[in-house]
Subunit: 495 residues, 2 copies
């Protein structure tokens, strides 16, 4: 999830200066329009320590008209507040219709900190998160607009930023605890974002390394949310009670020209034939044993293979299964759904094939079709594919909670490499069946798919089921990397 906020995106001083005035004006205009419409706006500012949340809040206060904005720093609870139910302090600062509240610290802070420091268990944590969902639903049902920002730094950046603070004699024990447990906080926060990322109040993860990028992006997203609410109001004005549907925010997606998570995939690694043969044989024999061990321990495995056309999914899957006993795995090739499958929820056809204890299911394409091909080709409506991120996360969480080992691979190649492979397929007779008009059509939508892959990784790559992006310009190196990953993950889980 956070890997999409570690791309090193920057905005230069000049570009910032060029964009800021318009953004400022547009934000003011949107603010006044929402004020007239009597819409309460709640902006939640959260994220890792050291990400400059204070800077963002100052910037928002500069951009918006101060008369309609209240900023609340919700640090530790006061005695007054501790004596009431948890949400009481937040109800105290709820903005009135027509005004904006910027919440620096929110109903997420305490549940995340408590669980990260292991004061609460997973069940209690999830229950708290579900309460947050309900609170937000209640506010949105009442007409409020909620925008949630998460500012992200990677571990190294955080260490650098916090160094000065930590070295100071005044460093709080809390700050020390946070910085020591970066990984724990990351995985706990990720769960909060995953569970509470709803259409009525979506999260936006923002890369906070570069101040200009951080602030401009925040401003843009805020503006987009405000304008989209205004547009919806115009569209639904006159209907009696269009509340729920009208107040679903469209989750902003990466634009095709922006940098995506795919740009960070290393496409340069190569493997010699000799090296490849050696490592392939060794890993395949290892996997054979691991599969039997999984059978003995009753451990189920689910693998998902997605990737560009001609990226080599079939070849990888054949190398993975070659080592294993055929009784232990099943490969499900996902093509167009059957009539029976079409008559059910799109997840139904995948649930059917969930392996039983000790077995393995390998999906050659998967439920991610909903947010890839169905999105790009518009087979699914915007509502349908946007809500699918949450549905897929829920689905995978159930698998993982049951003990299933989940591995999800995206095989990445460059457009040039794809072109070369397409041409080869056309020329070599025994490969001609592998290239169709559809492949050429998909290729034209490269940018659309690029954005869809980025959003998929941003929303569905989780600690328990991460997306593994494999550079596959060199087939040999890709196959070995996949086999390495599978063997390592299985070995670790079966220990």
């Amino acid at each position: 999830m956070f890997e999409t906020a570690e791309l090193g995106r920057k905005i230069g001083r000049k570009a910032f200066a060029a964009e800021e005035p318009q953004l400022h004006t547009a934000l003011l205009k949107a603010q006044f329009a929402l004020q007239d419409a009597g819409i309460a706006v709640i902006v939640i500012v959260s994220g890792v320590e050291g990400a400059g949340k204070g800077g963002v809040v100052s910037r928002l206060n500069k951009w918006l008209d101060a008369r309609g904005v209240e900023t609340h720093a919700l640090w530790d609870e006061s005695e007054e507040e501790r004596e009431r139910p948890f949400f009481w302090r937040f109800w105290r600062v709820m903005p009135a219709r027509g005004s904006i509240a910027v919440l620096f610290g929110s109903w997420y802070t305490k549940p995340i900190v408590d669980h990260a420091l292991e004061h609460t268990d997973l069940d209690a944590y999830e229950r708290a998160l579900h309460r947050n969902v309900q609170l937000e639903q209640l506010l949105v049902d009442d007409g409020a607009l909620i925008i949630k920002f998460w500012f992200h730094l990677n571990r190294k950046q955080q260490q650098t930023r916090l160094k000065a603070d930590l070295d100071a004699e005044t460093a709080s024990p809390q700050l020390k605890a946070y910085s020591r447990s970066y990984k724990r906080f990351a995985s706990v926060s990720e769960r909060a974002i995953r569970i509470t990322d709803r259409g009525h109040a979506p999260w936006h993860i923002i890369e906070a390394t570069d101040e200009n990028y951080r602030d401009i992006t925040t401003g843009r997203l805020l503006l987009e949310a405000m304008e989209s609410r205004l547009a919806q109001m115009t569209a639904t004005s006159g209907t009696a009670d269009g509340s729920t549907a009208a107040q679903t925010q469209t989750v902003p997606t990466v634009s095709p020209t922006e940098q995506t998570v795919l740009d960070k995939v290393d496409l340069g690694s190569r493997l010699s034939g000799k090296e490849y043969d050696k490592r392939l044989a060794s890993r395949q024999s290892e996997l054979r044993q691991l599969a039997w061990k999984a059978k003995q321990q009753g451990c189920n495995t689910v693998m998902v293979f997605e990737g560009w056309d001609a990226a080599g999914k079939g070849g990888v899957i054949r190398r993975v299964t070659a080592g294993m006993d055929a009784r232990l795995f099943r490969v499900i090739s996902v093509a167009a759904p059957t009539d029976e499958e079409r008559a059910h929820h799109y997840l139904w056809r995948f649930w059917r094939h969930i392996p039983r204890a000790g077995h393995m299911t390998i999906y050659d394409r998967s439920w991610y079709g909903r947010v890839l091909v169905e999105r790009v080709e518009r087979f699914a409506s915007t509502h349908e594919w946007q809500r699918a991120y949450q549905e897929i996360n829920d689905f995978e969480e159930q698998l993982v909670d049951h003990g299933v080992i989940m591995l999800k691979f995206w095989l990445h190649i460059s457009p040039e490499e794809q072109l070369a492979r397409f041409k080869e397929r056309e020329q070599v007779e025994r490969k001609q069946h592998k290239i169709t008009d559809e492949d050429w059509r998909n290729r034209e939508r490269w940018d659309g798919y690029r954005a869809a892959v980025h959003d998929m990784v941003a929303r569905c790559s989780t600690t328990h089921a991460p997306w593994l992006l494999i550079g596959a310009n060199d087939k040999k190196s890709a196959r070995i990397e996949v086999l390495d990953t599978i063997c390592e993950r299985l070995a670790k889980a079966l220990d």
Copy 2:
């Protein structure tokens, strides 16, 4: 919650025979229409042991066309099923679009049993319930219609029904455990219903004492849900993506001619002046001490008084507070909201006054206005007041979880008694300020309020915050009953 299903409602053999043929025909018609429209229908049949769920299922199978219905008895998990995530077994039996699944046992059974038998803690239980909410949301988003029935018997009825089974040598230890822990099961089930009673998949609690009443009511509610979905489809056909809003079911409410929970309130008790004076003085002094004890123990109390106009709320509240130190309590009289209050969510004005540790807030009228006056006078839209049950339950749960003692009183009088009091107020000069045209107007809506009170009790009377219905035709007896209840609840909580 269950008290509204203990009214002893019956339908005679003749009335049943008169209604059944039409109901049967109408159900078939609705079934075929939904089949044509490609809507999947999921009927969940649950409730206490001995309520005759098997009988209901047989009846539904008789009324519906068997070719479009599949009944699944979901008893214990098979080995196959245990080896997969919990929901797998339910995905196996999900109905295809256009068909109906009657689920006898469902995704509620295991969480309820596990928690009732204390194999899981509260956090784990709630997490499981939230997963059910998500599963149902996902199915409804996909177009399914979900109807959930809970069949209820009171303890005594259950014992009688189960006696034969329990005496038999073949009685399972499980059945014995269930029947021994009626109260525990009731409170655990109530939580399941409360948390998962959503607009997209509401619960219907049905009194199961009389077979005819039970079956006819089930049939009527099923028909209503099916017909209302068909009507919505006609209304929204042509809109691009009206999914969410369109698929909110209207929660059926009691009809004004039906028996309500108010009909069971005893209006006959009387108290002599002497007896009243004695008990009043004793309880008031007891309450004075209890209030101080609550202060010492840091225990907060919230009381809610609702009731008919002229039922004597003011008089009761004065008797309650007379005994207590004025520093320990606050009475909030709820009139029309201020401008500031109107600019916030309707619950905001009540959150403001939540007492701090050791203190007491007494609400003279309350947040229940949303489902009483605002419903009956149509100040709130149907969506607004229907969603308020869930919002109110969430709100009160937060108070109770924080340790607040909650007491909710409805003062009930007969319409004749109200008329007599209105006339007295008009005639006695010092009482004239207490009677307005609005009171007379409200009186004309008696039946509407009666139904609203019944539904309020049905949905918001919970183990942790029960509605206490007080017969108040005799003011003295009502005051003593309220004081008795308060003293007993406080004494118990402060022990």
